[in-house]
Structure formats: C-alpha cells, structure tokens
C-alpha cells in the first residue's frame, strides 16, 4: 500500500508532465537554445577579435625612420605611407572616422636619438606617438602589430638576456591538467545553473500550482500518507529536472568547442574516465533531489505559481554565487566540514571531479549530508501538507 502510494503519485506527476506538450518543450528547449546561443557567440567573438587574413592596414607616418622601414619589411603586415608633419591633424580625424587605420608620429632623427639615449642620462627617452581607434578592429590590430614590432626592436637594442628563447616545451602541465583546470572553473557553475533551472521549471508548478488549482486537497482527503505524497512528487520532479539538466548539459558540451574556437584544441571531455563520470552522476543526482526538495518547500509556502517563482529567486542567486566560487581557489577543499554545507558541497565535489583532485571522503560526506537534508526536507514538506494554514491559505 505504502509503496503503491508513492508510485501512484510519481506516475501521476510524470503523466501530467508528459501529457502537456508545452511543458515538455519548455524542458527540452534550453538545451537547443544553449547550443544555438553558444555557437553564435563563439562565431561572433571570433569575427570580433579577428581581422580578415589578407587585409593590410595602412599607417601614415610622420618622419619615418629607416630602422622602422626595415622592421616593417621583415615583420610585414603594414602598409607604411610617409606624410608631412603638417598633415597630423587631418590624419587624426581620418583615424577617428575610421578611414585611416593608424597614425605614427616619430620624433625628429629618431634613429640617432635612440642611439644617443642612455637611461642613466636623466633625459626623457625619445617618444613615439601612435594614434589609433579602439572602435575599429583593423586599427586596433595595426596598433598592436606596430607596438609589438617597436617593442621587439627596443628589446633587441639592449639585449642582456632572453626568457624561453629555445624551441623546447616550457609549459610542463599535461593536456589533462590544462583541460581539467578549465572544466573545473566553468562546469560547476554551468551544471548548478542547469540543474536549478530544471528544478524551478517543474517544482513550483507541481506544488504551488496544485494549491492554486485546488487539486492538492482532493489528494489530501485520501488515506495516503503526506510523506508518500512528498516523496512521490520529489522523485518525479527530480527525474524531470534531471532530464532538463541533461538537455542543457548536452547542448553545452556540443557547443563548447564552437564557443572556445581555436582555444579548444586539445580540450576534450575524453580525459575523464568512467569513475569520474560515475562520481559526477552521484553528485548530480543527490544535488537535484535536494534542490527539488528545497524548491518544493519554498513553493509550498506560496499561494500561486507566480508567488512561488518569486520565493525561489534568492535560492537562484545563492546557487549562482556558489557556482562562481568554483572559479577561485585551486582544486577541491580537503577539509571535510566544507562538504557538510548543502549545495556548496556539490560545487566542491564537481570541482574535485573535473580537476582530478577528488577528496573521496569529502564526496562521501557530501552525498550522505545531501541524503540527510533531503529526508529532513521531505519531513518538513509532509508536515506542511498536513498544515491547514499552508494548504488552505488565501
């Protein structure tokens, strides 16, 4: 009888959900949207910071020194055009209008002045003025190119020592470490947000919605235990939330290479083994069930779905802040008490899995703690279903 009740409630919740096409779409849509949005963002960012390959920016130069002519010839990529000092104002407005990419004004006798200059002399160093337009990508890249050419020239003039001048690989981090650090800083936040959105899409509708529509009392006059209603609802809602979270996560994983562009070379989720994924699944499962329980309790206080959505807002901010903490601090915490803090423990476990610094005792603590919090939450929810103030509040 008892099991039947939980099962019946679960089946009813799932049937209600899947019979409503709008709900199904609203759950699966985020994944598609994330994929489209991230792909688009990746493309937009790529075209924002890149200039077309064969474009050669034009630079008007006042008092062009021979050394710079040589530099640009070997370095390439710039079209130098010498102009008279009287044309500076005109050239500046051309840069502003984006009809000219860059204006470089060299001091008189630049090469001689540079050769004569000693830092100990107390005189100011010869100054090159580069006028550019930060709003134009072409101007910006011409500015950066010329700056780096000149910087290189300056370093070459007074070369005392080099850093990493050889062809060796100096970054000793393995590919795994790099990818792991990257995933560990980003994925916990994304996963937490996806899981939260999945829960919030269904739980207020199921708890506050039933109150609003007056259907929960119909269930409460049957001999089924309040605890069974709470458990049945939470399990069904968690299942749907997981589905929605999975949709978003798949969308992200597929779109990530597009978002990262060239930087994603060697960035592959293949670095994680079966054990890592199993750990992650356990953490996600316990997190979703806890989140659904929390949102259900908050929703039970509300009279309408709308009100419930207002009540759960602070929880969303909390989830996001906790997710952001994953970006700071190297690897997972080793102190066990951190794993007792609900939701924060989930973030820590995820960081651990992604950065290969899992603290097994910590994950075990977190899972146990989440189960205990969930059971407590179910008791609270069951008590609330029993409270006339909650069920009949107007």
């Amino acid at each position: 009888m008892k099991q039947n009740g939980i099962l019946a409630i679960m089946r009813k919740e799932l049937a209600r959900f899947f019979s409503d096409k709008r709900m199904v779409v609203s759950i699966l849509l985020p994944g598609v949207l994330i994929y489209v949005m991230y792909s688009f963002m990746g493309q937009a960012m790529g075209s924002l910071y890149g200039v077309e390959e064969d474009y050669v920016p034009t630079v008007q130069v006042v008092q062009l020194p021979d050394s710079v002519v040589g530099l640009v010839e070997t370095g390439g990529g710039l079209n130098l055009l010498e102009v008279d000092a009287s044309a500076v104002a005109e050239a500046q407005s051309a840069v502003t209008d984006q009809t000219l990419d860059l204006l470089a004004v060299f001091p008189e006798d630049f090469d001689r002045a540079v050769a004569a200059y000693t830092p100990a002399g107390g005189q100011p160093a010869p100054n090159v003025e580069l006028y550019y337009n930060a709003a134009s990508t072409a101007s910006q890249s011409a500015y950066m190119l010329l700056t780096s050419l000149l910087d290189g020239y300056e370093a070459q003039l007074a070369n005392k020592f080099d850093i990493n001048a050889g062809d060796k690989i100096y970054d000793l981090a393995t590919e795994e470490d790099t990818a792991g650090t990257y995933f560990a800083s980003l994925m916990p936040l994304l996963l937490m947000i996806f899981l939260y959105s999945g829960c919030v899409a269904v739980a207020p509708e199921s708890i506050a919605g039933e109150k609003e529509r007056g259907t929960i009392a119909t269930m409460l006059i049957t001999p089924i235990r309040r605890g069974d209603i709470a458990i049945g609802k939470i399990l069904a809602l968690a299942l749907i939330a997981l589905l929605s979270g999975a949709s978003s996560a798949i969308g992200t994983v597929l779109a990530l290479p597009k978002l990262m562009g060239a930087a994603s070379d060697g960035l592959s989720a293949n670095i994680y083994g079966v054990q890592d994924y199993l750990l992650l699944a356990a953490v996600i499962l316990s997190t979703v069930v806890l989140l659904v329980t929390l949102i259900s309790i908050l929703s039970a206080f509300a009279k309408t779905v709308k009100e419930a959505q207002a009540y759960v807002m602070p929880l969303m901010i909390l989830v996001m802040v906790l997710g952001v903490t994953a970006m700071f601090g190297g690897g997972a915490k080793t102190e066990l008490w951190y794993y007792l803090i609900p939701l924060y423990n989930s973030v820590q476990c995820m960081v651990g899995v992604f950065s290969f610094s899992t603290v097994m005792a910590g994950v075990a603590t977190a899972l146990a703690a989440n189960v205990i919090y969930t059971i407590l939450g179910i008791f609270v929810l069951a008590r609330m279903f029993n409270s006339e103030k909650i069920v009949f509040s107007r």
């Binding site: 009888m1 009740g5 007056g214 009392a217 119909t218 049957t222 069920v391």
Partner: protein, 258 residues
C-alpha cells in the same frame, strides 16, 4: 440504529488579521468559527447541517474530513477519531466540496484509477465499480475526455464518482447542488437517496431549505458557529414550513447575539 458519527464539543477558531479587525471594527484577535459543536448521525440516514453563510458549516465538514484540526473536541466516525486517527477516518469517508478540484489535464478514467490506487482499492473491484458508476452517471461516453473539456455538470459528476471510489460508509457533502442545473442537481439528490437506501450515512451542509425538506431525516441548525437545535425534520418543523421555522429560530438566537 447504530451511531456512525459522534461529534463531541468540536471547536475551531481562526486568527483575525489586523486588517480584518479594522474592517469589522472589532478588537478581538480570534474569531470562533465553530463553537463547542456536538451532534450524532445514525447509520442509514441523511443528516443536514443547515445554516446561513459563515455559520461554520464548511469548517465543521472540513474538520470531519480531517482537512483541518479542531482546536478542541473530537469527532468519531465509525470508531475512528479525527484527531487521533485521521488516516483511518479518511479511508472511511467520501468527501466532496466544490473546493476540491480535479486536475484538468487528466481523463475521468485516469482519475478514477489514480484515486482508487490512493485508497488501496484492488484492481478487479476497481474495474467493476468504475463500470457501474460511469454507467450510472453517463460518464462512460466521456471516460477518455480531459476534465478540462467537460461541462460543469459532467465535472461535478466525475468529482462525485471520484470521491466514492472506495465505497465509503460515510459520505460528507458540502453544498451538494450548488452551481448545478436542475437536471444535474436531480441526479445528485437521487443518488444520495440511493446511497441512503444502501445503508450509508450521509452528512450534507446547505442553506437551501427545500433540499433539506426533500432529503434529510434529521437536521442541525447552525448559527454563528453554534448548534441551535438538532432533531428530526418533523420535530424541528413543528407543523410550519422549514423556512418559517428557521427564521423564528434565527431571530430568537441571533437577536441576543448581536
């Protein structure tokens, strides 16, 4: 006759909000909705709770249905106490009020099965009962139509059927004919009489005199949360029409109350 329902000193108060206090120009923080209510209903009878709006009828029925807890007092339904054994009480009663809605996205067929499961009705019994009740109320043709698409009358019939999936011995009905057209109302009252002839105990609340005169064996008149009188219909009427008698009683009671 067996006493199937004993109500003993049932009391329920509600807190008044500051706004309400101002509105009603009162400094009382608590409003007594049901005041030390006692009555008995016997097996195989229809008992009517008659009273004006706000008399405490719905609150009383909600307490009998274990949806809200009394502040003090108790009610024993077929041996089970609403205070101590609410789950047992719920398995013995069928409760129907217009506030209890059915989820609109489901069909009558699904809802009958769902509530049968919650009541622990065996599958075979469920099938037979569903067949009989659906045929009785003409729901069979609409068995696979979503509740949202049903007419008001058909919705009410489905609600009625769903509330008695477990064939309860006590049926509690809050304003049974409210909002129904004459045809559907007739179907409901006929069915209540049919249930009585099967030996069920039925408690109805209403403010409609004709309904009480037509249906009820015994009546309790509720005014301002108090049971003013409780007796058989004939004893209460004392040869007058129930309506006239009610106004006499009302003036006698409310007169010294306000």
């Amino acid at each position: 006759m067996r006493e199937l329902l004993q109500v003993q000193g049932l009391t329920k108060t509600f807190r008044l909000s500051a706004k309400q206090q101002k509105l009603e120009k009162t400094r009382e923080k608590v409003r007594v909705a049901v005041d030390n209510l006692s009555f008995t209903a016997y097996e195989g009878e229809i008992f009517g709770l008659l009273g004006p709006n706000g008399a405490g009828k719905t609150t009383t029925l909600r307490m009998l249905a274990t949806l809200i807890r009394p502040d003090s007092g108790d009610a024993i339904l077929d041996g089970a106490s609403v205070v101590r054994e609410p789950e047992k009480v719920r398995s013995k009663i069928g409760f129907l009020t217009s506030e209890l809605k059915l989820e609109e996205c489901f069909t009558p067929n699904y809802l009958f099965d769902f509530f049968s499961t919650l009541h622990g009705v065996p599958v075979e019994v469920r099938r037979q009962r569903k067949e009989a009740l659906f045929a009785r109320f003409g729901i069979d043709r609409y068995a696979e139509v979503k509740v949202a698409d049903l007419s008001t009358g058909m919705k009410q019939k489905v609600s009625l059927v769903v509330s008695i999936v477990h064939d309860p011995d006590i049926i509690i009905f809050d304003e049974p004919t409210n909002g129904l057209d004459v045809l559907t109302a007739r179907v409901v009252t006929d069915f209540l009489q049919e249930l009585r002839s099967q030996g069920k105990t039925i408690i109805v609340s209403t403010h409609i005199f004709s309904l009480v005169e037509k249906l009820c064996d015994r009546v309790g008149i509720l005014i301002n949360g108090r049971m003013v009188c409780c007796d058989t219909l004939d004893q209460i009427r004392q040869g007058e029409s129930l309506e006239d008698r009610f106004f006499t009683i009302y003036q006698e009671t409310a007169g010294d109350g306000e």
